[in-house]
């Protein structure tokens, strides 16, 4: 039985899960939901995710929510090498850099992408420059650390690709469409790491779903 993923694929959170499914080569069905119609607030969805958010994964009788938890579940089952499985140290590095993605990278890069792209396209308002400026300063410091790290290792957790790298892709795809992409391009190793991630077949496929601000509306 195919795994089901519920949500709207233009969401970087839904697509984070989609990227993991694609990388794992899992047979899945995307069940499209309509954000504008409030599908996520209906009782049937609340029964799947009491926080009323997307994505949600159904795998047999398991229901999983939170995109990084979905990623871990899928990869642990189908591609454990992407979690550093088999080595305590590798696994620890994957977990640590996944926390860095969630708590250092995402708040800053995600806020900039939200203001520049989502605010005009989805909320019908101008970007808040004060929020952008504050987060640009934070992201600059974060990217300096990434540059140092990626000068020493090919990927964030070490010399192997992992969920820690993949987890960045969808928010970064949106971020790199803003004028602030220059912040990444200023760091040669971060730039090279980003380009390699984006060149992966799974990433290219998922990039096609990330349509906020492109003027393309997808039913998915």
């Amino acid at each position: 039985m195919a795994v089901k993923l519920y949500g709207w694929s233009r969401s970087p959170f839904v697509s984070r899960a989609l990227l993991c499914l694609e990388e794992a080569g899992v047979d899945y069905e995307l069940v499209p939901m309509n954000k504008e119609a409030g599908d996520h607030r209906r009782p049937d969805h609340i029964a799947r995710n009491p926080f009323g958010q997307v994505p949600v994964l159904e795998d047999g009788d398991l229901t999983v929510f939170e995109s990084r938890a979905i990623g871990k579940h899928v990869l642990r089952k189908y591609k454990p090498e992407l979690l550093g499985a088999g080595s305590l140290e590798d696994t620890a590095m994957v977990e640590m850099w996944l926390e860095v993605e969630a708590h250092q990278h995402h708040p800053a890069a995600g806020a900039i992408a939200h203001e520049c792209i989502a605010a005009p396209a989805l909320l019908g308002r101008m970007p808040n420059q004060a929020i952008i400026d504050e987060n640009v300063e934070k992201l600059k410091k974060v990217l300096e650390v990434y540059e140092t790290r990626l000068s020493k290792c090919r990927y964030l957790a070490g010399d192997f690709l992992s969920l820690a790298d993949l987890s960045h892709f969808t928010v970064m795809h949106y971020f790199m469409a803003t004028e602030y992409a220059a912040l990444v391009e200023a760091h040669p190793h971060v730039k090279a790491w980003w380009e390699e991630l984006a060149a992966r077949p799974a990433a290219k496929k998922v990039a096609g779903f990330l349509t906020i601000g492109s003027g393309v509306t997808t039913e998915k």
């Binding site: 795998d59 398991l62 938890a69 579940h73 305590l88 620890a92 977990e95 926390e99 860095v100 790290r149």
Partner: protein, 218 residues
Amino acid sequence: MAPLKLYGMPLSPNVVRVATVLNEKGLDFEIIPVDLTTGAHKQPDFLALNPFGQIPALVDGDEVLYESRAINRYIATKYASSGAALLPATPSAKLEVWLEVESHHFYPNASPLVFQLVFRPLFGGAPDPVVVDKHAHELAKVLDVYEAHLAQNKYLAGDQFTLADANHASYLLYLTKTPKAGLVNDRPHVKAWWEDIAARPAFQKTAAALPLPPPPSA
């Protein structure tokens, strides 16, 4: 075995998050002070441990880790056979979900509340009522979900105490010392869950070690 070294301020809830798990595992550790008030976290010797300049960091022999949740996962995995079992023998998607729920629903609201209500007064400031009201309102909605969940589950991941519960302990401890303790105490299953955590001998050891000032006299 040399004691593990936990770098940070002993009162910091993210440091206490790690101390909680170290004590659950019965591990020997020392807290090496990193004084945020003097900017010690931005000095080269600390940045060598955590280039993001945040506490805690953990040194275990040659292993250096930062991000409290990653540290806790590492300790629970490496020392699986020591002390309380915090991770199930077979991987649990439900555990992964509730670890993320702590990180992305509970913490983003509990942390500013604890900062405003506990730490600002400790450093001579006053809580910002706008920030307090906003996060109390959000945390109430989050804890309503916990209430329903804990009505069906003894602990977050099911029948057993796990890392998901342990990761909440430090912020629950602080929150229940503030005027917003009702967020926990007014929800019967959340309250019972917190009291169960608080009664664990390892957590009592963690709480007793906190250099908290005595409560103001009535």
